[in-house]
Amino acid sequence: MQANEYDAESVTFYQDDPLGGSPVAVQVIDFPAGSSARQIAEQLSVTSGVDASAFTEMKITGINENGYGEQLALVINGIRFDQPGMTLNSLADTINSSTLADQGILALSDGQTLTLSSALGDDIAVFVTGDITDSVAFESTRGQVTVLNGVGPGSRASTAGSINVSGGANFSMGGPHTLTVAIDNQPAVTINLTGLYTSGASLAAGVQAELNATGLNGAITVGLTTSGELQFSTVDTGSDASINLTGVSSGVASLLGLTTQGSVGVDTFRTMTVGGRINLLLDSGRTMTSSVVNPAGNVFTRNPVANSTDFGFEIAMAGRPVAGDTFTIDFNTGGVLDNRNGQALADLRLGKLLGDPPQSLTDSYSRLIEFIGIKASQTGIDREAVQSLLEQSTARRESVSGVNMDEEAANLIWFEQAYNAASRVISIARNTFDVLLNAIG
């Protein structure tokens, strides 16, 4: 299958430095050219903090078969669709019931556009065969339309005999008539021809039947050239279609004019391979850059811009939706009984909102009460201790400098008596002087 045209690319993941330095490179991943989105996503998801998912989409907007010449056929990822009178709708239905559905490829058609999608991100390769008057139109995600007609890149190899066998051939006598054919890189198969064919058409059909019976179903087409020679052809989406006749018995050689030979005439067909796109979910702190050379040929741009996945709300879905289901996300105007915000407000009671380490509101308040209570209690105890000291100090001061009334009263009595005694001495002295003076005079 032809690979997509993505260039080889190298992607580097960085982790932000929590301390504010420059980001540190943690992983480098290289993709070879032509990697499918699925392979890229698988490789990227291995890195921690990165989650990648891939998907591929291809739009076909027109099928044009004019009814003449070769039947238009599409070969999608190896499965061939060549019903006559194909429309987008009928093709979609056929694809959905074919083995492509097992590969995860689905088709959706509304009559105007057929969208092929691979939910796994595998490449979708379509090639178109037919003749030059038939075509298929594709539309890219940017609205660009490409028309492939029945002749173009892809390849077809054929080889033919040299004898006109439109009158048929007779293999019933002589023999054994054997023919060994190999296509592309597959092992050769040998067929044995034994019938009597009366026309070129029946001869071609008979040989085709023999070849199909060996398991080369659909890989080799047997027909007649315009000059009636028997022709074998095979197609390939790459440019390397080849068909080799490696063993021709003498009878076959003489009847059909075949010799051991390789492909003669390789022409190319048109093919379109679409690579997928990738959604990357990076954990916060991770960034990435890419070694882009040609922006159009790469999966990522050089510095992909990351968008936040936080829309302010989150939804989760469960179960299996079917086509046609719709889910609407909107504001619920009129939802007056919705108490969920009120409930969240009430839950603040339990939230650890204040302090270090964080505590709930009531715990913080209790802590405050305790702190104040202890301080007040301590202060009361201190006051009592100081009061005691004050009293003792006062007592000692009073003991030295205070006045005791009784002591003063006692002293007063003593001083009064001393005064009386002293004044008695004076009166006796006066009496003595009087006696002496009276004795003289």
Partner: protein, 414 residues
Amino acid sequence: MRISSYQLNQQGINRILEMSQQTAKTQQQLATGRRITTAADDPVAAVRINSINEEISLREQFRSTIGLAESDLKLEESTLDHMVQVLQRVRELTIQSGNAINTAEDRQFISVEIQSRFDELMSLMNTRLASGDYLFAGFKGEDKPFVQDATGANVYHGDEGQRVVQIDASTSVAVSDSGKHIFVDVPAVNTTVVTSAHPNNDQTNSGTISRATVVDQETLDAFYPDDLVIQFEPLLNGAVSGYNYSVRRVSDNRVLSGLENVPFDVGDRIEVAGMEFEILGSPRPGDRFIVETSRTQDVLTTVERMATGLRTLGTTDEQRDIFDALVGETLDNVDNAITSILEVRAKIGARLGITESVDFLHQEIELISKQMLSKLRDVDYAAAVSTLTYQVFVLEAAHKSFALISRLSLFNSL
């Protein structure tokens, strides 16, 4: 140590002051009944008292919430009970109407009674709480949930919200159920169809779509779960007479074969995928009409269809067959509705059980908390009175002794 007169005086007074302070404190305790008047009296106990108080008030609040929840739930329960009774009666009437000997008149009578049961059901489904909010409207309590629109279809205007209240620190209980869950999402025996106009249609020239009738049940069953969109396309040839529409299926937006750009006349009966409906009024290019298939049928429509069938289906063989099928279908759908209601009723019973046991728990814990609070905070009267008596005695002794020695003075003897 030498005692000065001043010292003697002060010493006496200080002790009296100290004693009277203590007495006053004890008196305060006795008067308030509290051992702890300020946090300083016992800081650790003060904190504990604070948290026990919070616990008690929280439990009281939860109990009051439980009271409200229980009253809402009991209202819901009794409403649902009532509805089951009504539906049982409808069931009886349906069975009765299947009786072959009914005359056309009998059928009219039965139809009238079923119609009045329909009205009863609708008013029960629009029950209001004491606060005036609608019980079954989900979160949209101010809008009447169950109404009939212009085409006669039964429409639910509420949402699917379920109110939940917290009755304990880690227990919540639902106190409502949305009408959609109980009455609208009732499994139907046959695939049903609902039609509507897209909300973005041109409102000034409004086209409308009639209710759809099922003409081929098997085709419709096969078409389910896909839905249809009838889209009015740009005018053909630009002419005023060129109104046309295309019918697409919603799953992949594909136009159904033969139904692209169909010329439109008002009143055309459109038949697609076993359904038939009309588009009336004046739709404009760009208008869309949605036809949705469903495996559910709301209980009002089930009852209404039976009443209508009794009224309109006559006596031709074809109509008889349709009528018999309708009777069977109605019985099954009514049973499904009753089952749906009983399931919710059982849930309500379980919720009431939870609220009862949680209420009991709150009561118990409140009691224990109050006891602990009392132990920490309240004064022991016996001890306090005895302390006060002692303190008063000591204070009296201090007073008397002070008076005695302060009279002593040597001056008195002089």
